[in-house]
Amino acid sequence: MPLIRKPAGSSSPPSRDPVSVRTALTSGTDDERWAAARAAPDMPEGVDALGDALATEHSTRVREAIFTSLARICTARSVERVVPYLRSDDASLRTGALDALRAMKTVVGPYLPRLLHDEDADIRLLACELARNLPSEEATRLLCGLLDSERESNVCSGAVEVLAEVGGREALPVLERCADRFRGTAFLEFSIRITVDRIRAQSSPPRE
């Protein structure tokens, strides 16, 4: 019988010494840095060691592991260490940061009002996506707040895209005003029309 059964193995746990984890995060092989990134949440000051390592890490796999660990830590501090990477010129860093923030939906909420009114339109646009992970009423409120003062059509489109999923009736007047301001911008007009139709077509509750 070629099938064999071996006893359960054991593996030595990775090093738990805080100094070596911080060093291991920025030196050694890809595999060593990856292992260090994964172990970091269990270390004191792991969040800052991870945040710092992001600045110099070039391996996509290790970066992913750093972002995953920051998401696991899931504190205000880990949000603060990730947010700056939304501004990166490197598309994969922006993606990594946004995905990590998506995974931190329980703590990212308080940061959204500021991000949704950031002076950089790219940040406002990415922040719309983060609003998607909030309860519908809160997301609608935040996105409507953005829409009434937003000048960039792409950011409006980003907000409308999320409102297509979460928007309640209270969003209708805001959407109509937005459509008025951006007459002639074909995609935004299209998006608003679809979203308005979706919000209007909400079913009524069954009779008692």
């Binding site: 995905d99 509750p205 069954p206």
Partner: protein
């Protein structure tokens, strides 16, 4: 008796858009009737009076609602030779590939996780014995793991009913099982003793790491239901448990595209599988 709430087309589209984004599953017009029916079922089961309140529940994945909803559309019943196209891929392509890379000396290691009541790991064993011409030339180690100790106990006992065996030919049942009561069979001891079962929570690296590295991992219908952070950690754990060049197979309606970029997708005649490439993924 209360009326069934009407659900509008736009509401269904909202729901389908959400599920596509979250799971990668596409619900076409053809499936509309089934989606609507499932919504009614889940609204009733969760006491949601309106579509809006149900959708809020689904969006927040309260009490694992996404899994409950999607369950109706995936084959979640476990039986022998389920998704046998992946077993065909295993013997037709994956094992040859692994052996080309690692040579002759090492055992082939295969992990079924979650293994539930054992149908999957035992299926792999039987399939290999029946379908792999090289089966006598190599040592093959099959491990089945699950978070639920109850199902593990049943897996170890190797006792199965008629439904579990429904895809096996009478020849295979006779060859590998012994009758053990009314419409009950027990897998032969030789086979039963050759699969190791263990308890594991795949989100915990301390629990997954000791299992070592595998050539092929079957991880079906569990990753997609974890929250964002847990999904990523579990994927990283499984990556660690995969030998460089090794393969991981997901459930039929699952895709790594909603889980992690760590693995590279490979298409074979019988199945789409994912590979831990040697070196950087997609590099």
């Amino acid at each position: 008796m209360s009326e069934l709430p009407a659900i509008t087309e736009e509401e269904l589209r909202r729901l389908c858009d959400f599920l596509y984004r979250r799971t990668g599953m596409v619900f076409t017009e053809a499936k509309r009737y089934y989606v609507e029916r499932r919504v009614f079922e889940r609204m009733a089961a969760t006491g949601s009076g309106t579509f809006a309140s149900y959708f809020a529940r689904l969006r927040s994945d309260a009490e694992g609602e996404v899994e409950y909803f999607v369950n109706a559309f995936t084959v979640n019943e476990t039986y022998f030779y389920r998704e046998d196209h992946q077993l065909r891929c295993l013997t037709a392509e994956l094992l040859a590939d692994r052996l080309r890379l690692k040579g002759q000396e090492h055992a082939i290691r295969i992990w079924s996780v979650p293994c539930s009541t054992g149908e999957e790991p035992y299926s792999i064993a039987i399939w290999l014995l029946e379908n792999w011409p090289m089966v006598d030339k190599y040592e093959i180690e099959i491990v089945g793991s699950d978070i639920d100790t109850g199902v593990l106990e049943r897996a170890r006992s190797g006792v199965f009913g008629k439904r579990a065996l429904m895809r096996l030919s009478p020849y295979l049942v006779e060859k590998y099982f012994a009758p053990a009561g009314f419409e009950t069979w027990k897998i032969l001891d030789d086979l039963r003793n050759s699969v190791r079962f263990s308890r594991v929570n795949i989100v915990e690296p301390a629990e997954t790491r000791p299992h070592g590295q595998f050539d092929v991992i079957f991880c079906r219908n569990v990753l997609i239901y974890f929250d964002d952070a847990s999904r990523r950690v579990a994927a990283e754990n499984l990556y660690e448990n995969l030998a460089p060049g090794g393969y991981i197979c997901l459930g039929h309606s699952e895709s790594m595209s909603r889980i992690t970029p760590l693995f590279e997708v490979r298409r074979f005649a019988d199945a789409i599988v994912y590979q831990r490439t040697v070196g950087e993924p997609h590099g």
